[in-house]
Amino acid sequence: MTEILIQLAYLFAAFLFITALRALGRPDSARRGMQLAAFGMAVAIIATLFQARIVSYEWIAIGAAVGAVAGYPLGMWVPMTAMPQRIALSHAFGALAATLVGIGEYVIGFSGGTLVRSTVAALGLEVLFGGVTVTGSLMAFGKLQGILPGRPLTFRGQNAINALLFAACCGCVVWLIAFPTQPVVFSAMATLAVLLGVLFVLPIGGADMPVVVSLLNSYAGLAAVATGFAIDNNILIIVGALDGLSGLILSIAMSKAMNRSFANVLFGAFGATVTDAPAATVAGGEMSATTVEDAALRLAYAERVIMVPGYGLAVSQAQHQMRELGDLIEKRGGDVRYAIHPVAGRMPGHMNVLLAEAGVPYDKLIDMDEINDRFGETDVAIVVGANDVVNPAARTNPASPIFGMPILKVEDAKSVLVLKRGKGKGFSGVENDLFVDRKTSMLFGDARQSLLDLGLQVKEA
């Protein structure tokens, strides 16, 4: 009877989780939906405590208390700019939980002599996905946090070694399905998986992290699915499937936005490929610099303005200054929108969160596909700290390494103002035709200071 009630509680929780994900489809219902999901989580946890297999609660209480104490700062104190590494770290936590459960269940099954093939297959996959995700996420965390060098670390034969490791892991799983009671093979597989996680993220550069973090999200979900199969728990299968697909969908979206094929992503063979391409030939020309006064005057009398924030904006922490400038232009009667490229931040949707935190209303944050039609009727487009995502060569120059990458059509605007630190090239080292276009004026200097100065001048204009 208790068992049926527990399963019904899981069913209810699964319903609330899916409802919450549906509510995330709209910003005004999202928050309420997630509160329902939290309630569902509480129901599922309380129901589990009545499970017949649980005989003592001391270690549960200790673990839960430590986890809750650790979770609070992870939820409340982490700044929004640190969101990518925060998410990477929690992938590591989630995967570690799954891996340890996999190992623990194998140990119990081995000592009790109850190991059957299907369970071992599931446990093997659980530890395989879990192990890769734990160290992979920790590496991603290290790179995003700046503990590890962000540049790709490569050595010869790297892909061959990774492929070999992966094959060895799969071989161990097959071996375990054939001969379930071999703890040596099981621990060898766990070790190889952990090693694979390190080597898989090592060659990937910091700017490619949106894809990696999304992909690791997917792996963590698959580890949860495997747990569900191993201990016959449907809610883990459901949640794991949702998690896994969410990560997969996001990483496909990210790889498209970064101009990489998904196969490229799946095999982890990305990183330094772009920079190796021959430098694109560019129509020559000089950048024309402008002054704060001139630029501000144009902004003050512009009717339609689009702000184009790139990662450089987040680096110089200038989101608030951008919003203030936008407010000032709006006060003078101009219409201001914010154009968000999918890879403007360091993870999917990151730039939206940063601007929302700065107080930009979300209906002014417009996705690339939607805003690209609006540039034609825009008086001034302000590009701040973005380079490759506004490079017209991606559409016009087949020789360019970034050819084919979806970009914001900033060059369609009547005039363009580019805020840039110096005359250097972007992350991919590609020349940018936009900067030498005749309707483009460059305002050199620190983005934060430039935005601040522009704001002051617009106010006086």
Binding site: G25, I62, A64, M76, V101, I238, L242, G349, V353
Partner: protein
Amino acid sequence: MSSMTIIQLFVFMLAGFVGVQTINRIPPLLHTPLMAATNAISGISLVASLVLAGSGDGVLATILGAIAVGCAMANIVGGFLITDRMLSMFKRTQSAAADNSKDGASSAATP
């Protein structure tokens, strides 16, 4: 392969379809909250950790279980808190428009 496993495969497949349908409807605007949310929800692996930590099947299993409980719990608490914090920042223009309209009215009158 037992009939239980077959049913689980059905559950997995159907959940997958629900996932694709649901997640494709989420706008890029909310992709970061989506990742935080799936993280929080995937803390449901706590239910597996709880069973392992409380089953009393030897010291090793108990300790592994307790660590797993800690990790999953940290994800649940931290994940739901941070998702809520993020979502609370997403505001429509309306509330801003309410106080802007006062400014707007006065500034429209002055020039």
